[in-house]
């Protein structure tokens, strides 16, 4: 009998090499400590930490979250300890981990992003993710992620200054996400991650007040999965750089769906809240799917959706 070929979960996102394609989504995994009480977080492909800004941010007033059908809204307001706080309080623990560390950064100007990216590169994080859903103060508050010119400038300028792998995280709140994927690729981003949350809102009809203090918030969770899968598929047919897919992933089946749609890796966000061990179960589940389907390298699943030609 032939020796069973071992299943290979390794993926190379350009220079960023992961032991498996499952990572955490920014803002849903803190800085790693909390979930390390539940399982061995070194088993993850990568950890993406909560977004870091130059100065500490207090975030929005409470209530910040509410539940919606198969989803949730959040308006945390990017609460974070700031660059210095991160370096002092969080980085030492992260440095002890045997998995890749990706830092999500956010700013109100191109300079903010450059300073953050350079700082992260200098301390040796494995990749930097640009959260472009923040308002661009210089451009009158329009988010970097929905204004093509600001978006292009941001990535181009950051790229000039750092060699660390750059991930651009795309906002789904746009008419044509392919356009942004292409700009990210052309501006030197090493990969793209998508989707960030979709802007939503919910009202308590008894108090007649919005359910979150910020009025609008970001919708995440299984409810948005079909939108996220569609966007990953659209982008994967547009760019050649690797895609990190996310939006509503809870189970191995969800993760595989994103990979078939064209993602090289996936991230779990809200899913961590539903099941703290979701990421670990997803890694196992992908493995057993591959062995059932006779696939030896997870890379062979990326974009392996089949469809009738005439529909493309």
């Amino acid at each position: 009998m032939a020796k069973k070929t071992p299943i290979n979960l390794r993926v190379n996102l350009g220079k960023l090499k992961l032991k498996n394609p499952v990572m955490t989504a920014s803002g849903t995994f803190g800085y790693g400590k909390e979930y390390s009480e539940f399982f061995d977080i070194n088993k993850l492909g990568a950890i993406v930490v909560k977004g870091i800004s130059l100065k500490p941010m207090k975030g929005n007033p409470s209530p910040r979250i509410c539940e919606t059908p198969s989803g949730m809204l959040n308006a945390i307001g990017l609460q974070n300890p700031g660059l210095k706080g991160f370096m002092k309080q969080q980085l030492p623990f992260l440095k002890t981990l045997k998995t890749k560390i990706i830092v999500n950064i956010l700013g109100n100007s191109v300079d903010d992003y450059i300073e953050l990216a350079e700082a992260m590169e200098s301390v040796g994080v494995d990749a930097v993710e640009l959260n472009v859903s923040c308002p661009n103060v210089k451009k009158g508050g329009i988010a970097f992620g929905t204004e093509p010119f600001a978006f292009e400038e941001l990535i181009t300028e950051v790229r000039k200054r750092v060699k660390v792998p750059l991930i651009t995280k795309l906002s789904p709140n746009v008419t044509d996400i392919k356009q942004f994927a292409k700009i990210a690729e052309d501006s030197g981003s090493d990969m793209i991650s998508l989707i960030n949350t979709i802007t939503g809102m919910s009202i308590d009809i008894r108090t007649r007040r919005p359910r979150i203090a910020n009025i609008t918030g970001g919708l995440s969770g299984p409810a948005i999965k079909p939108v996220a899968v569609r966007m990953v598929w659209e982008c994967s047919r547009t760019v050649k750089i690797p895609i990190i897919g996310m939006g509503g992933i809870i189970s191995p089946e969800d993760a595989i769906e994103f990979i078939l749609a064209g993602a090289s890796a996936v991230a779990v966000g809200t899913g961590n809240f539903i099941n703290p061990a979701a990421t670990i179960e997803i890694i196992k589940g992908i493995k057993s799917y591959m062995s059932t389907e006779g696939i030896t390298s997870v890379n062979d699943l990326t974009g392996a959706m089949r469809c009738l030609k005439d529909r493309l």
Binding site: T28, E34, F38, K58, G59, S62, M72
Partner: protein, 220 residues
């Protein structure tokens, strides 16, 4: 935090306090059906499995250095307050002020009495104990026994308006007080930053640094 079932609606786990430890890893929860999640929970069958993570956060930690415990429970706030009473009863039984909407919603009375605790009760409709707000009862009680101020420290759980009133009361009477807060939660473990309360030391996570906070820390 517990999942009421495996459906994606409702999606999030529900935070429920540990009511009683029964030993051998067994425990009891005491909850009120208020919405979709607790409704589904109440329809689960004996023997069904639930997905639970916990215990989470800090819980009440009573130190006699603050004084003798004076417990205040409002409505379902009795769930953790009873648990606390049970762990405390070996020594002098604590004082317990217990407010509820109506007699039917006053729970655990027999168990409390078997612990030697005779709660002072108030109901909104007067169907049990005093009629009205439990804080008024407490106020009167302390006014009549002003010396108790220095002997007691407050531990309270209940709806937010009651906790605000507890806070005002404690400040006015210069009493130490600890309150257990409720906030909507997503993760329950400190990662989502959804459940924060504004404190004198910045935003604190109710699920992680709480749910119990000294009143003087809270910025209402």
């Amino acid at each position: 935090m517990l999942s009421v079932d495996s459906s994606l609606d409702p999606l999030l786990k529900r935070p429920i306090s540990l009511h009683r430890w029964l030993g051998n890893g067994d425990f009891q929860l005491l909850y009120r059906v208020v919405g979709k999640g607790t409704d589904i929970l109440s329809r689960r069958n004996p023997g069904d499995k639930l997905d639970v993570i916990g215990p989470l956060g800090n819980g009440f930690s009573v130190s006699r250095k603050h004084g003798e415990p004076l417990l205040i429970a409002g409505g379902l706030g009795i769930a953790p307050v009873f648990g606390l009473a049970e762990t405390l009863h070996s020594k002098t039984p604590p004082l317990l002020f217990y407010g509820a909407r109506t007699a039917k919603e006053v729970l655990c009375i027999d168990q409390l009495q078997s612990l030697g605790i005779n709660p002072i009760i108030a109901t909104d409709d007067g169907t049990l104990g005093k009629k009205g707000n439990i804080l008024n009862v407490l106020n009167k009680f302390i006014t009549q026994n002003p010396k108790l101020k220095d002997q007691y420290a407050i531990y309270a759980c209940g709806p937010e308006p009651m906790l605000k009133a507890v806070s005002t009361f404690a400040v006015k009477n210069n009493m130490k007080a600890f309150i257990s807060l409720e906030k909507h939660m997503a993760c329950g473990v400190g990662t989502c930053l959804g459940c924060v309360v504004n404190t004198t030391k910045g935003h604190k996570r109710v699920c992680k640094e709480g749910p119990v906070f000294p009143v003087e820390d809270i910025v209402w």
